[in-house]
């Protein structure tokens, strides 16, 4: 879907970097919820966006940087539109942490009930598009897309 999305401006609506401290994630959650609602998402959809973003950033800290609090990660929010499906939000998260093969990023088997490992599954359930890429040199880029007229699995079930 990403190739069919048109950004509404050359620059992101909002972009910032933050230290890889889990204590800061509450501030990102609060900001993302406020922005999503202002961009036209329902409170229910904004909750999905917050959840996906929170899981993504937690994964960067935990897996990309091995829990280190002394690294940086960036988050950018783009207003986008899709020719058929309408408007939405694209969130791009970049880090300089450990690189992984994007094809190996998958949610675990949900029948195997154990703590942890659910973040990727959650992202794929609540967002319209989830794309992991290796950045040139080092680090990963994760793109999350949510459309106001969402076709995400969870939304189709609503």
């Amino acid at each position: 879907m990403n190739s069919e999305l048109q950004a509404q401006s050359r620059e992101p609506e909002v972009a910032f970097t933050l230290a890889t401290k889990t204590a800061y994630l509450c501030s990102v959650r609060a900001f993302a919820e406020s922005l999503a609602i202002r961009m036209g998402f329902s409170h229910h959809q904004a909750g999905h966006i917050v959840l996906a973003l929170d899981e993504a950033l937690a994964n960067v800290i935990r897996h990309g940087y091995g829990g280190s609090e002394h690294e940086r990660m960036s988050v950018a929010f783009w207003a986008v539109s899709h020719a058929k499906l309408g408007q939405g939000l694209r969130i791009v998260i970049e880090d300089e942490g450990e690189q992984i093969d994007p094809s190996n990023v998958r949610g675990r088997d949900l029948d195997d009930v154990r703590p942890g490992g659910l973040g990727v599954h959650i992202m794929r359930q609540v967002m319209d598009d989830v794309v992991y890429e290796r950045r040139p040199g080092r680090g990963m880029r994760l793109t999350l897309v949510k459309l106001i007229n969402s076709q995400a699995p969870v939304c189709r079930e609503c």
Binding site: A23, C26, R29, V113, P115, G116, L118, G119, H121, I122
Partner: protein
């Protein structure tokens, strides 16, 4: 989502149960605090552990992991575990993770037998 404040966990012991009542958000940063409270709850050998989530406005999968650990301790110790007071967003995380049937979930502390 409420403005974030540090997670507070109130503990109440009654004749029939030990009630953990966390207040705030349970995400990656707060999960270790919740995990410790759950561990101590089961170690105190109550007749039942009730986790009242009425005042939890947000839960990430790291918070959900603490509930899975609580259920595993419940199975191991044979001390029943009941969850109650789930807000919509907390319930959604459990539903999306397809863990709803894994827990005993009721509406209120009274329904949990406290």
């Amino acid at each position: 989502m409420a403005e974030s404040t540090p997670l507070i966990i109130r503990t109440q012991r009654t004749a029939s149960a030990l009630v953990l009542a966390p207040q705030g958000e349970i995400a990656t940063h707060e999960a270790p605090t919740m995990q410790q409270a759950v561990k101590e709850a089961f170690e105190s050998r109550p007749a039942k552990v009730v986790i009242d989530l009425t005042s939890v406005s947000y839960m990430a999968t790291s918070g959900l992991a603490t509930l899975v650990q609580a259920a595993q301790q419940s199975n191991k110790t044979k001390i029943p575990l009941v969850l109650c007071g789930l807000q919509e967003r907390v319930k959604a995380v459990i539903d999306i993770s397809r863990l709803t049937s894994f827990f005993k979930i009721v509406g209120t502390q009274a329904e949990a037998g406290v």
